[in-house]
């Protein structure tokens, strides 16, 4: 019920319209990867999914943020069923960061199990919305661990104007969630080539629907 109310609220605030450029059916496990400009991005993608798919789809989010306070804890564990990841402090050494990132990827693969899909934002941080930034390598390593999952590029339009970085209060504008054609990692595809191909899939949705 709370999930339903949140979905409705997100839809009213963001006026989000889902556009499926290719019909996506069946119960395949999927990684939805999207451009990231706003704190509301996850809930908007999640709300745009058809209800049965939404029930199996989990967000990946920072543990420090979502374990703070009872409301957030309740939402992340009971409503979104989030996969909470430890974030390393920016003061950590690069070796510490690499180890933590590795652990996070393994954790995601494990939590996905054999039925869950996830929503990720491979740019790693929120951008201004002017372009899609280069992807972090996490998506590549995750796909190595889960080679059979479908990759679905998602372009979020206008979210940067609804709740831009640095603003606390949203302005209710209309946004669009454009789901692209599912893709897969090719056998033996180099990391850089794969990440760029994934990024340009989101960029292309931006050009055709932005």
């Amino acid at each position: 019920m709370i999930a339903g109310a949140l979905v409705k609220l997100a839809k009213v605030m963001s006026g989000a319209r889902a556009i499926w450029t290719k019909p996506i059916e069946g119960n395949a496990q999927r990684i939805f990867f999207a451009n990231h400009t706003s704190h509301l991005d996850f809930i908007v993608v999640w709300s745009a999914l058809p209800a049965p798919m939404r029930g199996r789809t989990r967000p990946v989010a920072g543990r420090d943020y979502w374990m703070k306070g009872r409301v957030r804890r309740y939402l992340s564990s009971k409503v979104f069923n989030g996969i909470l990841i430890e974030r390393t402090p920016s003061t950590a050494s690069s070796e510490e960061k690499r180890v933590a990132a590795r652990a996070a990827i393994e954790r995601m693969a494990e939590e996905m199990g054999t039925e869950h899909s996830i929503i990720v934002f491979p740019e790693g941080t929120r951008g201004s919305g002017d372009d899609v930034a280069p992807f972090k390598s996490g998506l590549y390593h995750l796909c190595k661990l889960k080679p059979d999952v479908q990759l679905v590029p998602v372009y979020l339009d206008n979210m940067n104007r609804i709740l831009p970085k640095g603003e606390a209060l949203p302005v209710p504008m209309l946004s669009r969630v454009v789901f692209g054609e599912p893709m897969e990692m090719r056998r033996g595809e180099p990391k850089e080539a794969f990440l760029e191909r994934a990024r340009s899939a989101v960029e292309k949705l931006r050009e055709s629907h932005g």
Binding site: P164, E167, L169, V171, P172, M173, L174
Partner: protein, 330 residues
């Protein structure tokens, strides 16, 4: 001796003429829906079928809009305020979505949606005409510009602030004049102002529909081919004259004489046409066909109320000037 129907009408909590107007609209919708159904069974050919499908989608939306509007008007002031406040909110959202604002305008936009908009309708609710009439053109105008400049981004500053002011004027200020009709004090018409609101909305929407119908039937000579290629002189003249005739025919529900009602209806139709034309130019400028996708067959909410935006303030002020007694100089 009174007829049972008449006795039932006068026992209702709402104004009698309002019930009759609403009944008339529902009757027209029923006839329209029957025609739409018959056409959907008989018309062949792809283009004809598409037109009929669009017609029926519009009719379905009309049913919903008439029900919502009927409930709002019947619940008196508060229902109308909530309905038009909501319309303003949705229209502003559509307008701002298309407007080229930047991150620096975020706070100004937030204030527009969540402070200025509710405040405007609150002022109508408490009947404070003096502030209602100047709040957005004076205080809103200055405040939004100052809020945007404090954010420190000068790129396209004039276009951005002008856009926000236009958004507020069109979607909030102008639309709010419709429920503001309930504030007017017209001698011998106390408690019946809802009929005035009904008159405005009936004439303005009927004018749109009839222009569309006349245009489809006879349309040949374009009025403004570069702005709105679907508008024709035949549609305009036929629509305005027939909507004016309907306006004159319901004079008994208004404080006007038949001739005055015809004049007011004509004014509403012409202003409505101008509003539609200006909004069409904005859409063309932004490269879109419709403002949104909210109402099936109609596009967005702003596509449906574009005529009302320009007709409501003019109708309000002309009515106020000639019929209102609240602040006349002795």
């Amino acid at each position: 001796m009174t007829f049972p129907l008449e006795r039932w009408l006068s026992s209702l909590p709402v104004d009698r003429s309002l019930v009759l107007l609403l009944a008339g609209v529902l009757a027209a919708l029923i006839v329209g829906s029957l025609v739409g159904f018959i056409l959907s069974q008989t018309v062949k050919g792809e283009a004809g079928r598409a037109t009929v499908a669009n017609l029926n989608a519009r009719l379905r939306a009309w049913w919903a809009m008439v029900v919502v509007f009927g409930i709002a008007v019947a619940t008196g002031g508060i229902g109308s305020l909530v309905l038009f406040g909501l319309i303003s909110f949705l229209a502003l959202r559509e307008f701002v979505t298309l407007a080229p604002t930047r991150v620096a305008d975020h706070q100004a936009l937030f204030w527009s949606f969540f402070v200025l908009l509710p405040l405007q309708y609150y002022l109508i609710g408490i009947g404070w005409y003096g502030l209602f009439a100047i709040m957005i053109p004076v205080y809103g105008f200055i405040f939004t510009a100052v809020r945007s400049v404090l954010a420190g981004d000068v790129d396209h500053f004039m276009a951005r602030t002008a856009t926000i002011n236009w958004a507020l004027m069109v979607c909030v200020y102008c639309v709010s004049y419709a429920p503001a009709l309930l504030m007017l004090e017209i001698p011998g018409f106390q408690g019946q102002n809802a009929a005035l609101l009904f008159f405005l909305v009936l004439v303005v929407q009927l004018s749109d529909v009839l222009q569309y119908v006349w245009g489809k039937l006879l349309g040949k000579h374009k009025v403004a081919p570069l702005v709105s290629p679907n508008k024709t002189w035949e549609g305009l003249i036929g629509g305005v004259l027939s909507a004016t005739a309907v306006g004159a025919a319901v004079w008994w529900a208004t404080p006007f004489t038949p001739a005055q009602a015809a004049g007011m209806a004509f004014l509403i139709c012409v202003m409505g046409f101008c509003g539609g034309l200006v909004m069409a130019a904005i859409k063309r400028d932004r490269g879109v066909k419709d403002f949104g996708t909210l109402i099936e067959g109609h596009g967005g909410i702003l596509d449906r109320i574009d005529s009302l935006c320009f007709a409501a303030p003019i109708f309000f002020h002309v009515t106020r000037f000639f019929f209102d007694v609240s602040d006349q100089v002795p």
